[in-house]
C-alpha cells in the first residue's frame, strides 16, 4: 500500500511538472517584442532638420537657450518660453491651461524629445520646431509681442551674437517699433505701411529667432526610466534586479497596456506616441472657447508663412512631406488631438489638452468608460476594466517616471 501511495505521488508530481511547463510564461514572444519596441534604447538618433540650417550649430543653440529664458522676449518683459516650459518641471507648468500674459485654452506640453515631433501643439497647427517657437511670441495670451519689436530687440540686445550666426542684420532704422500682420489694429496698420522688402527683412530675423530656439530645444531628450531598465533585462534574458524588477501589479499593468486595454495602439514606440491625431472623446471645458482640435489647425498650418512650404525654410521641399500629405478634411479630424508621450506623465498632472483630468486614475477611468465625443466620433471603445486593472495600469505608468 505504501508503494502504491509513493507511485501515485510520483505520477502526480510528474503531472504537475508537465502542467507547469504548459502554463503561461510571464510574457509571450509577441508581448516581449512589443515591450522591446517601447524601450528607450530603440529611440533612433535625432535626425537632421534640413529646414533649419542652424539646428545643430552650438552657437545657435546657445543663443536659443538665452532667448528661451529671457523674459525680455515678451510685450511687457514678464513672460519667456520658460514661464510655461519650466526647466525643473519637465518643461511644463502643472497648470490645466497655460498662463502667459493672459489665460490660454490649452495645457502646456512638456519638451522631452520635442524635436522628434512631425507636428507641434496639441492640434499640430505648426509643422516645425522653429515655426512652433514663433507662435507664442506673438500670441496675445502668451508672450504677446510683435515681430518688428522682436527684430529691434535682437539688434539692441544680441546684435553681435545674432550676426555671428546668421550674418548681417538688415537695416531696421525705418522699421516701426511695433508691427505685425497678427497684432493689434495699430500693429497691423504699421505692418501694412512697411514695404515688402522691409516685411521680408523682419520676417527673416523673426524666423532666425525661432531657428535658434529650436536649436536649443533639440537638446531636450527623454531620460531612461525603471521601465526601460526592466525592458532591457527582459530582452536580454537577465533577471531584473533592484528597482528594475516589476511588482506583480506593474506586470499586470504592462500586460494590460500592451494587450486588453489597447493603450499601445496609439502610445507606441520608444516615446509612447504615434505622433498622430485622435478623437478620444475627451470632454470640453465649459468656460473655454470652442475647441475643434485638428480641424482648425489644418487651416492654420497651411496659412502659416513660416511653414515648410514657405520661403523661410532652408534646404529643399523634400522635407515637407508631412505637410504635403496631411489629412485636410473628413470626420476623423474633428476634436482630434495629438497623442502625448507618456514618459514622465505620472509626475505632471493635470492631463489632456485642457487639463481636464486631475489624476491618472481619472484618465484611465475615461478610457475604460469611453464616453461619446461631443463632436466627431471617438476612436475609443469601452473596456470595462476592473478597479484592480485600472490601478495596475496606473502603477505601470508610474514606472515611466521613476
Amino acid at each position: 500500500m505504501r508503494r502504491l501511495t509513493s507511485v501515485a505521488c510520483l505520477l502526480a508530481l510528474a503531472a504537475l511538472a508537465l502542467l507547469g511547463g504548459c502554463g503561461e510564461p510571464q510574457f509571450s514572444d509577441a508581448e516581449k517584442k512589443t515591450i522591446a519596441s517601447l524601450a528607450l534604447n530603440t529611440l533612433p538618433s535625432l535626425k537632421a532638420d534640413t529646414t533649419n540650417q542652424y539646428a545643430d550649430m552650438p552657437a545657435a543653440a546657445a543663443l536659443g537657450s538665452t532667448l528661451f529664458f529671457d523674459a525680455g522676449m515678451s510685450r511687457d518683459g514678464t513672460v519667456s518660453c520658460s514661464t510655461c516650459h519650466k526647466i525643473e518641471r519637465q518643461f511644463q507648468d502643472d497648470l490645466p491651461q497655460a498662463v502667459g500674459v493672459g489665460h490660454t485654452n490649452r495645457r502646456t506640453m512638456p519638451l522631452a524629445g520635442v524635436a522628434r515631433n512631425p507636428w507641434f501643439f496639441w492640434d499640430g497647427r505648426r509643422d516645425s520646431l522653429w515655426a512652433q517657437a514663433l507662435t507664442p511670441l506673438e500670441n496675445p495670451l502668451e508672450q504677446a509681442g510683435n515681430r518688428a519689436a522682436f527684430a529691434h530687440y535682437m539688434q539692441k540686445r544680441f546684435g553681435e551674437r545674432y550676426e555671428r550666426i546668421f550674418g548681417p542684420l538688415p537695416d531696421l532704422s525705418n522699421v516701426p517699433a511695433n508691427a505685425s500682420p497678427l497684432g493689434s489694429d495699430a500693429e497691423k496698420a504699421a505692418w501694412n505701411s512697411m514695404s515688402a522688402a522691409q516685411q521680408d527683412d523682419v520676417n527673416l530675423v523673426y524666423a532666425n529667432i525661432g531657428k535658434a530656439i529650436a536649436a536649443f530645444e533639440r537638446s531636450i531628450e527623454p531620460q531612461q526610466t525603471r521601465f526601460d531598465r526592466f525592458a532591457i533585462d527582459l530582452a536580454t534574458g537577465a533577471k531584473p534586479e533592484a528597482d528594475a524588477a516589476f511588482s506583480a501589479e506593474e506586470i499586470l499593468g504592462l500586460k494590460l497596456f500592451i494587450g486588453k486595454a489597447n493603450c499601445v495602439t496609439c502610445h507606441n514606440g520608444p516615446r509612447f506616441t504615434d505622433n498622430a491625431f485622435h478623437n478620444t472623446g475627451v470632454p470640453p471645458v465649459d468656460e473655454l472657447p470652442l475647441d475643434r482640435g485638428r480641424v482648425d489647425a489644418v487651416t492654420q498650418v497651411q496659412a502659416d508663412p513660416f511653414n515648410c512650404l514657405g520661403k523661410f525654410r532652408d534646404g529643399d521641399e523634400s522635407a515637407c512631406r508631412e505637410l504635403r500629405f496631411m489629412v485636410k478634411d473628413g470626420p476623423q479630424i474633428a476634436r482630434a488631438y495629438k497623442t502625448p508621450s507618456l514618459r514622465g506623465a505620472a509626475d505632471r498632472p493635470p492631463y489632456m489638452h485642457a487639463g481636464q483630468f486631475e489624476t491618472l486614475d481619472e484618465v484611465v477611468a475615461h478610457y475604460s468608460k469611453a464616453p461619446l465625443a461631443v463632436e466627431g466620433v471617438s476612436e475609443v471603445h469601452p473596456l470595462d476594466l476592473s478597479e484592480r486593472e485600472r490601478a495596475a495600469l496606473v502603477a505601470f505608468l508610474r514606472t515611466l517616471s521613476d
Binding site: R3, L4, V7, A8, L11, A12, A14, A15, L18, L19, C22, T265, C266, N268, G269, D274, N275, A276, F277, H278, R321, E322, R324, F325, M326, V327, K328, G330, Q332, V377, E379
Partner: protein
C-alpha cells in the same frame, strides 16, 4: 498478484487523467485565426488590371512616411500608362481612416506609379484602396497590410 494489478490499474488511471488534463490545456490555448489576404499582387475587382503593391525601399517602417510602388498591367500583361489613381484606406478594426493622405506622385514607366505619403502609425490590419482609371476602364483594388 492482486496487488500488482492494483498498481497497474492505478497507474493507468493516473495516466488517463494526465492525458485528459494535457488535452484540455491544449484545447484551451488560443487558436490562430486566419488573417486577411495579404498578397502583394492581385487582380482588380473587375479583373481589368493586374496590380501589385510594394514598399519602394523594400521594408515597411512603422511611424515613418514612406513611398510605395503600385504596378499596373492589363490582363494581357501590358503596362498600364496614364492611369488616374485615387488612394484611400484605413484600419477596419479601428473604424478610422489613414493618418495621412497618400497620393500617386510620379509615373516611373513600365506601369509603375509612386504612391507617396503612406504612414502606418500603429501595428495591426491596414487597408489601402486604389481607384484606377485608364484607357481600359475604371476599376479598384484593396491591399491588406498587417503590421
Amino acid at each position: 498478484m492482486a496487488s500488482i494489478w492494483r498498481y497497474i490499474l492505478a497507474g493507468l488511471g493516473l495516466a488517463v487523467l494526465l492525458v485528459g488534463i494535457v488535452a484540455a490545456v491544449y484545447l484551451m490555448l488560443p487558436q490562430p485565426t486566419p488573417g486577411p489576404d495579404i498578397s502583394r499582387s492581385k487582380s482588380t475587382a473587375n479583373r481589368l488590371f493586374e496590380a501589385s503593391f510594394e514598399p519602394e525601399r523594400g521594408v515597411i517602417r512603422q511611424g515613418e512616411l514612406q513611398s510605395w510602388l503600385l504596378t499596373l498591367k492589363t490582363a494581357a500583361g501590358a503596362p498600364v500608362e496614364g492611369a488616374a489613381i485615387t488612394v484611400s484606406g484605413g484600419m477596419p478594426q479601428h473604424d478610422h481612416g489613414l493618418p495621412t493622405s497618400p497620393q500617386a506622385t510620379d509615373y516611373l514607366g513600365d506601369g509603375r506609379y509612386r504612391i507617396d505619403g503612406i504612414k502606418f502609425t500603429m501595428s495591426g490590419w491596414w487597408q489601402l484602396r486604389f481607384g484606377i482609371s485608364a484607357a481600359a476602364g475604371s476599376d479598384s483594388v484593396v491591399f491588406n497590410i498587417v503590421l
